[in-house]
Symmetry: C2
Subunit: 231 residues, 2 copies
Amino acid sequence: MGLDAGAPSPAGGERKGRKASKEMRQSQLIEATIDSLATRGYSETTLADVADGAGLSRGIVNFHFESKDKLLVATLQFMAEEYAAHWRAALDKAGPDPADRLKALVDADFDRKICNKRKLAAWCAFWGEAKSRPTYQALCGSRDEAYQDALAELCGALIAEGGYAGDARDAATALDALLEGLWLRLMMGASGITRPAARRSAMALLAALFPQHFPRPDGPTQKKTSMEEKR
Amino acid sequence: MGLDAGAPSPAGGERKGRKASKEMRQSQLIEATIDSLATRGYSETTLADVADGAGLSRGIVNFHFESKDKLLVATLQFMAEEYAAHWRAALDKAGPDPADRLKALVDADFDRKICNKRKLAAWCAFWGEAKSRPTYQALCGSRDEAYQDALAELCGALIAEGGYAGDARDAATALDALLEGLWLRLMMGASGITRPAARRSAMALLAALFPQHFPRPDGPTQKKTSMEEKR
DNA sequence: AGATTTTGAATGAATGTTCAACCAGCACTG
DNA sequence: CAGTGCTGGTTGAACATTCATTCAAAATCT
């Protein structure tokens, strides 16, 4: 019954019913898993929930993925790859100027595609289990080793350009931690913080670290456009 | 672990714990719960684990706490109260100077009593479930409403004193998010970040935000010993 | 003794996994 | 083209396990 199920419908190759390709089924199940993680939490996520969410039958997960564990690992893997691809694309699209590239990374982190309640909640669910599961720990890996390298490289370039004091690695660590902390706050939803406010907060850190490159919103400082919002 | 914990060996006549008062038993069970959360994670924490960890029998938790849920709530409550009491005490002990008080808050956050793998892991376990449990969400509450108010007040004082640009509330949000993000990183243990390094990173943010009040560490420093440091 | 705490086995519900039957597509044959 | 058999995705019920909870009996304290 209820095969159509609809749901998030990843678009593209429409093949709905019985014949959906293996990969489509898998991503359909992964999406349903993210849904369940976001609404019920890790400890309450059951295969029955996932199957119901996808509009399929009970035993389906054990056919496409070998076990519940494997499904969860695949889900985390999917999110990690999506995240990495997203910031890499943002970096490619940005120009050669280090300041622009750094801003692009921050913006990418707060993009709705990545930074929404559903995905944030799923990330946090995995974080909560990461310490006791080496596999999760490696995949969360405080985001991505490469991401931190990219941050550090850009910070280094700005420090060299602007003659700022401080260490590039430390600045990158602080920035990365700040971004993660803001994600956490956004997920919690408490203290009524919003996505734009969080992004503004991150930009404020950049302004404090690299004042010549990231002018404060109020001061009529030296950089180019003020396409940012005001406050 | 936790308290003396008493070996699980039921052999000897050992009349050690039987007499322990209700409150002692409860905190003993709470400590065992934190242990289990830290080592096995939220989803794998069972009452049997907790009871074994405390060296007591299976049904004990349902006697002192009504249910597993109540035990977990009590555990989170305990940690929240301990955290709040800790930073409040640090604030009381600090002098009247806003810069000193802010530094005291940061130091308190990285105190071993609060900031160790065990407690961090337990916090993170609760964070992971917070979105789907209003009770947890309220207790995590992105730490503490009052904590953020204290941060904002101090930031405001420094901004007024030093004539810095920027908003106190934004600075406090950034600082709080950074501290939480660093906690998360410390818990993950990845990228080999250490507690002193994390604290240094937080201090770097303060130096960037309030350069007159928090001189950079590279110059001949101002405080006393440099017993920290590492990397 | 009476009250309180602790124990450990029994209970029942929830859930991951297995599996035999079912069915949609597809290639091949007559 | 119709029929036929094959491959493999899909189903749902059966199974086994794990675990929170209950409770009567035992142990300990006052």
